[in-house]
């Protein structure tokens, strides 16, 4: 069996906590995301409320 760690904390050598999420606009893959948003723009602008209202499921496991 592997050795139990001798450290009192299992987290000592950890990287610092990440910065808060940066603005999505600063990110790559801009083209793929924007062209996808362009594609769905019309339907989502006109149908979103009705779509959300009618998406009703029964509970499962």
């Amino acid at each position: 069996m592997p050795q139990t760690t001798s450290s009192t904390s299992p987290f000592e050598d950890d990287a610092p906590a990440p910065d808060a999420p940066v603005a999505p606009a600063a990110q790559s893959s801009t083209d793929a995301l924007d062209s996808l948003l362009d594609e769905i723009d019309d339907t989502i602008q006109t149908n979103a409320t009705q779509f959300v209202r009618s998406f009703v499921q029964k509970g499962g496991q």
């Binding site: 139990t4 990287a15 990440p18 999420p21 999505p24 009703v56 499921q57 029964k58 499962g60 496991q61």
Partner: protein, 517 residues
Amino acid sequence: MRVVGIETEYGITDPAHPGANPMLLSSQLVDACRQWAGDAATRWDYGGEDPLMDLRGMRRERRYATADLLTDSPEYSEANRGVTLRRRRGSWEDPAHLNAVLGNGARFYVDHAHPEYSGPEVSSARDAVVWDAAGDKIVCAAIEGFKADGGSIAVYKNNVDGKGASYGMHENYLVSRSIAFDELARRLTPHLVSRQVVVGAGRVGLGAYGERAGFQMSQRADYMEAEVGLETTLRRPIVNTRDEPHADRTKWRRLHIIIGDANSMEVPTYLKVGTTALILSAIEAGDERLDALVLADPVSEVSAVSHDVSMRHQLTLSSGETATALQMQRALLTIARDYVSDAEDAAVVAKWEDVLEELSRDIFSAAKNVEWVAKLQLFGRMRERYGSVDAEGAAVPAPWDDDRLKAADVQWSEVGVGLAWRLAAAGAVTRMTTDAEVDAAMVTPPATTRAWLRGRMVSMRPDVVDAAGWSTIVIDRDAEHGHLEVVNLPNPMATTHELLDQLLASPRTGVSDPRHD
């Protein structure tokens, strides 16, 4: 790796008739799946299941079970248990329990008000992804058939409707019966709670009813109400105690995990299964390092982790120390390294480390691999697009309770055509599979488990297969005794069986096989 299987309950709607009965729709979809499969599909064998056996070693009397626990109905009878010969030809099929056991070893069926794909048993994380993706494509094939007949239908690989209902993706792991169940649950729970940062599918809305505006990592987090328990639809537990091994009960448990999200991306599915299997190996080895990670209050931490997309939330350990979910995942990765037993395991650990590194550096660098991050990135862009300008002229992003964001959250997971699939097609998502191997896995079982025997019997000898279950194949052939013969497959790793191999080597009878014409 150990034997694993993934079950997915899909959301289902009729876009043309929003109030359509979901049980009927699910039944019609399973029927369409059977049409797609042709004669390479058989019925489910209810004879061998025992869902009321509890992993903690108690039996609950059937009269105390809620109706939805009785998944072995309608053909269950105490007298059937252990009986190996029975006659059931011509029995009536209840449309509410319509089943198709498929040539790839999977079961596609009506579970309550949802269609469910229970993938075949696999023995690597990558195979889990391949046969999970094959399930999505089988759903697409069934949808195509249903629509060709004039029907209107949409199927979603998500877990919530935003109005209080949740339905599950369940992972099943074969584990040694030698571990005490309490120890198994205690040592696994810290991983199940903290892995959300890696495998969460993302969700618009907070609370079981989406009653608060916001975005969180996990679909399922707000529906977990207990640490351990037998129920799956009420007081849902982080670790489920159902003890229905579908295997030799003296050797194995089937650990049934219901906390996970259904993933529409491949890397999360891969890491969900691969990392959990490695932690289970550490638990089987009695690794006491896991005890340092036990949480003071796991149930409340599930939502706390999920709701904090900055990943700064400090979870409180039972020792009184605190740690972030990322720190816990790093500690678990360190432990898991010691249980790598083959190249597949090593690949899982490498991918796990990469993703943790990306999340630590800049979460959006993980957008190709982590589903909640991919969603957050796309929906962040939508919030800018649909935002407004305040009195001082500053841009204000659209609020998280904007219906366009809620709609996009559901449409993300529409099987085969949703936003997740479109991002994958655009190359913005990491693929673990190729289209060719997924297409093959729609009709071919994994070669490393007993699913190999089940799937091949279903596709090659439908003339003699009456029904099949996880651990049984019921044979109906001319025999002097006049009964059905139930072949038991208690070893999930068995890929050979004397009688089945003999049947598989013989030509089918009765009908001509178009594949050989």
